[in-house]
C-alpha cells in the first residue's frame, strides 16, 4: 500500500501514458510510448467503462482512478471490477478529492495507492484502514 501526498491532490502528469474517459477519445500523453502501443500507465475518468479499455490491462502496471468528489461512488465500482472481473493485479491509485474518512472503503474495493488531498492528515488517513476489526463483506484484495 502506498500513500502519496501532493500539493494539490493531483499526481504528476508525466507518469501517465493514456487518459481514458467515457466520452472523449483516449488521450495519449507520452510521446515515447506513442510509437509502441504498449501502455503501462492509464488514467481513468469515472465515466469510463472497463470494457472499453480492457485491452490495455495486459501491459498496464499503474491505473489512476479519478475521484472528482468524495461523494462520487464510481471509482469504487471501477476498482472492484478491475480486480474481480478483469483480474488486474497492478497498482490502482486513486487521486482527486481523496479524504481520510474514505480511505478504508477505497482500500476494501481493491485500491492500493492513494494520493491524499493536501489538507488531509496522513496519519489519521492510515488509521482508517483496518479501523473495524470485522466487516460484513469480504474485502477485494489488491
Amino acid at each position: 500500500m502506498k500513500l502519496i501526498t501532493t500539493v494539490n491532490g493531483y499526481p504528476e502528469q508525466q507518469e501517465i501514458d493514456l487518459i481514458w474517459s467515457g466520452y472523449d477519445e483516449p488521450h495519449r500523453l507520452n510521446d515515447a510510448e506513442q510509437r509502441s502501443s504498449a501502455v503501462s500507465s492509464l488514467q481513468i475518468e469515472p465515466d469510463a467503462l472497463p470494457d472499453a479499455f480492457q485491452h490495455h490491462l495486459i501491459t498496464a502496471r499503474l491505473i489512476l482512478l479519478h475521484l472528482p468528489a468524495f461523494t462520487d461512488g464510481r471509482p469504487y465500482s471501477l476498482a472492484a471490477m478491475l480486480r474481480q472481473h478483469y483480474r488486474y493485479e497492478g497498482e490502482i491509485r486513486v487521486y482527486g478529492d481523496v479524504r481520510a474518512a474514505q480511505l478504508d472503503h477505497l482500500h476494501r474495493c481493491g485500491i492500493n495507492s492513494f494520493v491524499l488531498k493536501e489538507d488531509q492528515d496522513a496519519a489519521s488517513a492510515l488509521g482508517q484502514i483496518g479501523y473495524f476489526s470485522k466487516w460484513y463483506q469480504p474485502n477485494i484484495s489488491a
Binding site: 469504487y76 465500482s77 471501477l78 474518512a101 473495524f132
Partner: protein, 551 residues
Amino acid sequence: MYQYNDDDQQFLQQRCDQFREQTRQFLAGDLTAEEFQQLRLRNGLYIQRLAPMLRIAIPYGEVSAKQLRALAAITRDFDKGYAHFTTRQNIQLNWPKIEAMPDLLGRLAEVDMHAIQTSGSCIRNITSDQFAGVATDEIADPRPWAELLRQWSTLHPEFNWLPRKFKIAVTGAISDRAAIAVHDIGLRLQSDDAGLYFEVWVGGGLGRTPLIGVCINTRLEPKHLITYLTAILRVYNQLGRRDNKYKARIKILVKAMGKLDFQTAVNNAWQALKDGPETINEDSIARFAGHFSRPNYLALTDQAPSRSVITTDQPFDRWCAQNVLAHQQPGYAAVHISLKRTGIAPGDVSDRDLEALADLADRYSFGEARVTHEQNLVLADVEQTKLPELYKALGKHNLDRANRGLATDMICCPGGDYCSLANAKSIPVAAAIEETFQDAEAEHHLGALSINISGCMNACGHHHVGNIGILGVDKKGEEFYQLSIGGEPGEDARIGRILGPSVARAEIHWVVQRLTQCYQQHRLTEEAFNQTLDRVGIEVFKSAAYEGLAS
C-alpha cells in the same frame, strides 16, 4: 428475532467510536460541514426545520420489548418524550442535539440498535412484511433474507456513495404487504417444484417520478441473491445519473436504458460474480433461518372466529374483526395496534406508550413487536384466548382503536411541522380528515380505504399509492393540496391519477369527504374504492369532489 453476536456488537461499538471522533473533529472545526454532513447522514442524523432529526433503524420492522423500553428512555433523556414511526418501519426523534448524538448512539448500541444508513445515498433499512413468519398466506419467511441483506448492505465498501438513496423490500407472501413494486429493488419469494426462488423487481419508486418497478429476473436461485444484487448495484453505481438529484434514482436509469438493456448490463456484471465467494451456501442459509425459528408456541386450538365487523355493536368484537388477523399457528392470532389516534399525529408515540407496548409485548407476544410501513404496530404471536385481556390493556393506553385499513388509518409524513423539505403541513390535514370520520359506525360501513398524505414531492407519505393521495404544494406561499385517486401499493400496485386543480387547506377534508360519499353512492356490494373508480370513471369522482368549489 435476530440476536446480535459478539462480532455484531463489536462492529456497532466501533461505529459509535468512529462517529464520536468525527463529531469531535467537526465541533473542533477540523472536519468541514460539507464532509460531516455526509458522515452524519450515514448515521441517521438530519438537520431539520427546527432541530436535528435522528432516524433510528428498525431492520424489517422487528423490535424487542427491551428495545422499546430503551427507546422510551432515550426519548425522555435526549428528546421531548415522544417519537414517530415512519413508512420505512423506522422510528424518528425530532429534537435531539448534535453534541449529544454520540452518547445517544451509544445508548442505542447497548440494545443492539443504531441509525446506520437510515439516510444518505446508500442502501437504506431493509423493509419487509410485518406479518412475516405468521401470515397464513406466506410462501416462505422473508426475514432470514432481510437479515442477510441487512448485513451485506451495512457499510458495504462499494455502495456507500451511490447516485442516490436505495431502498430494498422483501416479501414472502401472496399478498404483498411490503409494497415491493415501489422500491428500488423489490424481492418476492416464490416456490415451485424445484424449490424457493426470488422474483427480482427493480426501478419502482415514488417521489417526483412515481414508477412501478419491472421484473428483471423471474427466477433467481436464492444462493445467488448477493451476487445478483451486487451486479444491479454495480450497474447503477456506474451508470446512474449524478448530475441531477431528481434524476438520480435507479428508476430513471432503468427507464432510460429500457428493461432489456438494463437486464443485459446486470447479467454482464453478474458473470464476474456468479458462483464466486459471495454465493450463499446451504450452511449460511440454514444459519440465517435459525435466527427466525418459531417461538415456543403452546399446543392450542383455534377459537371460533368473531362476528363480522358490520353486524356487531360490541367494541371488542368489532376490534377483533378489524384488527386481529389469522395466524399460521392454531390458537394464535396476530394483533394490529393502531397508532392513528384522535388528537395525536399519525405514527407518533409517547415514552409511556412505548413502555406500555413493551410490557404488552412481553406479556402477550414473546417480547417482540413489529412496525408496519403504514405506521402502526403489530403483536404477532398472541394467544387467541388472551385477546379480551389484551384488548382491555390496550384500551388503558388509547391503543385499542379498531381502524386497521379504514379511512382514519391514514399514512401521513411529518410534513411542514417538522420537515425542512415540506411544501405544506400534513399532520393538520390528517387531523381535519379524521374529524370528518368521528362516527366509527359510518367509517366501518365505508370500509377499506387508504388515504395517504405527503407534505412534498418526496412522497414519504406514499400519496401516489393511496386510494386517495394528498400532496402538499406551495402556491405563492400558501399551502395547497393536490389530490390523486386510484393508487394501490400491493401486488396490484398502481399509481394514482391526479384528480384536478389543487385545493386550499381549509377545503381539503371536505373534498376527501365528497370523494368517499361518491364512492359509497356508486359502489356495488363488496366493491373496493378502485374498482368503483375503474367502473364509473374518474370524471364522476372529479365532479363530486369539486362540487361547489370556486376553481
